[in-house]
Symmetry: C3
Subunit: 208 residues, 3 copies
């Protein structure tokens, strides 16, 4: 039962992130191979770095179907990217879903591998954010990591919530659902209302 | 006999990629250490990521002579980079050779390590493209990955051809030669005739 | 005794690099999470890649306190970044200290893990430079790697000095101190007097 829950998290995360990669490829008017490349790099990039650092087999080396899913997503987006009204908004919202899904999936995977909660949360955040960083570097988009609106904080909220609920003895399924919902809600609220944390302000007269 | 064939592929790939890195350093008028750095990052970068994901010892940790070769290439280029008429064209053509060599070398290495063909092709492409990505990021050059002309497709062709010929029972040497030739021919044709795949076109009136 | 010396090197390196990351975050007027992210990526990024290539457990997975230290640094800098007269100069000088510390720490760690001196020096340089590369990419700063003044050469000097002194039978503590001092002195002299190595110059009439 539990294994299915994790597998579903991972699968959903890969699909939504791969879609954002392919949508960025469409904004850049790439060819189909460029779509596949950005879908793959975004879909599996974060989980790859997470697994390397955790020193477990990289998930798509064990289950190559993740690669085929990203390619399928790229093909579908290549022929349907004209449908959504604003591809940029769609990227942001799908990215929010992927962020929440991978933050929780990474935290759980690390805890199951035996790390403490601090390392698990760090790996959750790495898995949740690195795919988007690669997508934005390869696609020459402004980095979503540096966006004004709350971003990494949402991944942090989801990862910490899962670690706490899991430690508190909640069922895995309940902890996963609640933590993913929280992570998505935090990023979604930031997107919808333009919420941001207070920023560092240079004092007048100070050289930077 | 076979081991020699692989070793030659790897060696040639490192030399031509290191040369492209050093040529980019010359375009940026770097010092000799910058030449060495770009030669090393380009020459061994793709194979490093490939080996990390494949979970085998990184090839230059086992055989440090690859590092010394990159440094030797950097020194030679530092004193001869004024010879070629167009360094930019030379980079493109050497990069095409490295792309084909590493695409096949990576696919073969992964198959020998026991992965299936999908993962092997993916690792071939990663090994073939990642060095160039690092070179272009470090050297602030426009990314060759995003070029209009067919690029990743050539690595894909070489990697898939090797996997198919190998599965069909062709001798290793024959499969290697045919697949490298195909990969280089695809990229070379794209460079020579400016071939590109059809690109995604935004429909008029659609917001991106 | 020796283990303490290494632990101190690592700790100092993480603290000064994390500080440079947080200072770059302040130059970009990020929020507190952005400070933490850049402090973490800069503080532990180089050592992470070094440990992955060396195939030893990543140091902060074994000792999560490094992550907490980076976060503490980020908080302190968030509230004190207005104090220094020129944050940019401070980044350069702290970066010089981190460069020397990590160059030696990485070389020693690799030698202790059983690599030869060439690989050890390469891993020292990777550990010393990669954190700064990530910081500059994430923070959209001009890459310190491409600076006109001597940079990688200083890491090379520290790493080579340690490998030589260690092979010559000097005590670990003495070799560490001398090599760190040399690395810092080379970079510091380059910063102070604007020293640079001779650069490649394009010949007139040559197309690049």
């Amino acid at each position: 039962m539990f294994d299915t829950a994790t597998a579903i998290l991972d699968l959903l995360g890969v699909v939504v992130f791969a879609t954002t990669g392919a949508l960025v490829a469409s904004r850049k008017e790439m060819d189909i191979v460029g779509f596949a490349l950005l879908a793959l790099a975004t879909g599996v990039g974060g989980g790859t770095l997470r697994d390397l650092i955790l020193d477990v087999p990289v998930f798509w080396v064990t289950s190559p179907s993740y690669l085929l899913i990203c390619i399928a997503v790229a093909i579908v987006v290549f022929f349907t990217a004209h449908v959504p009204q604003s591809r940029y908004r769609l990227v942001l919202w799908l990215d929010a879903a992927g962020l929440a899904l991978f933050a929780v999936a990474g935290t759980e995977k690390a805890l199951l591998a035996g790390t403490g909660p601090v390392v698990a949360v760090a790996l959750g955040i790495i898995g949740a954010t690195f795919g988007g960083i690669i997508r934005d570097v390869l696609g020459h988009e402004p980095s979503v990591i540096l966006t004004r609106e709350i971003y990494v904080t949402a991944a942090l909220a989801g990862a910490v919530a899962f670690a706490l609920l899991d430690a508190a003895g909640l069922s895995r399924e309940g902890a996963v659902l609640a933590a993913v919902a929280l992570g998505f809600a935090v990023r979604g609220a930031a997107l919808y209302w333009g919420l941001s944390l207070p920023r560092y302000r240079s004092r007048p007269g100070t050289k930077v």
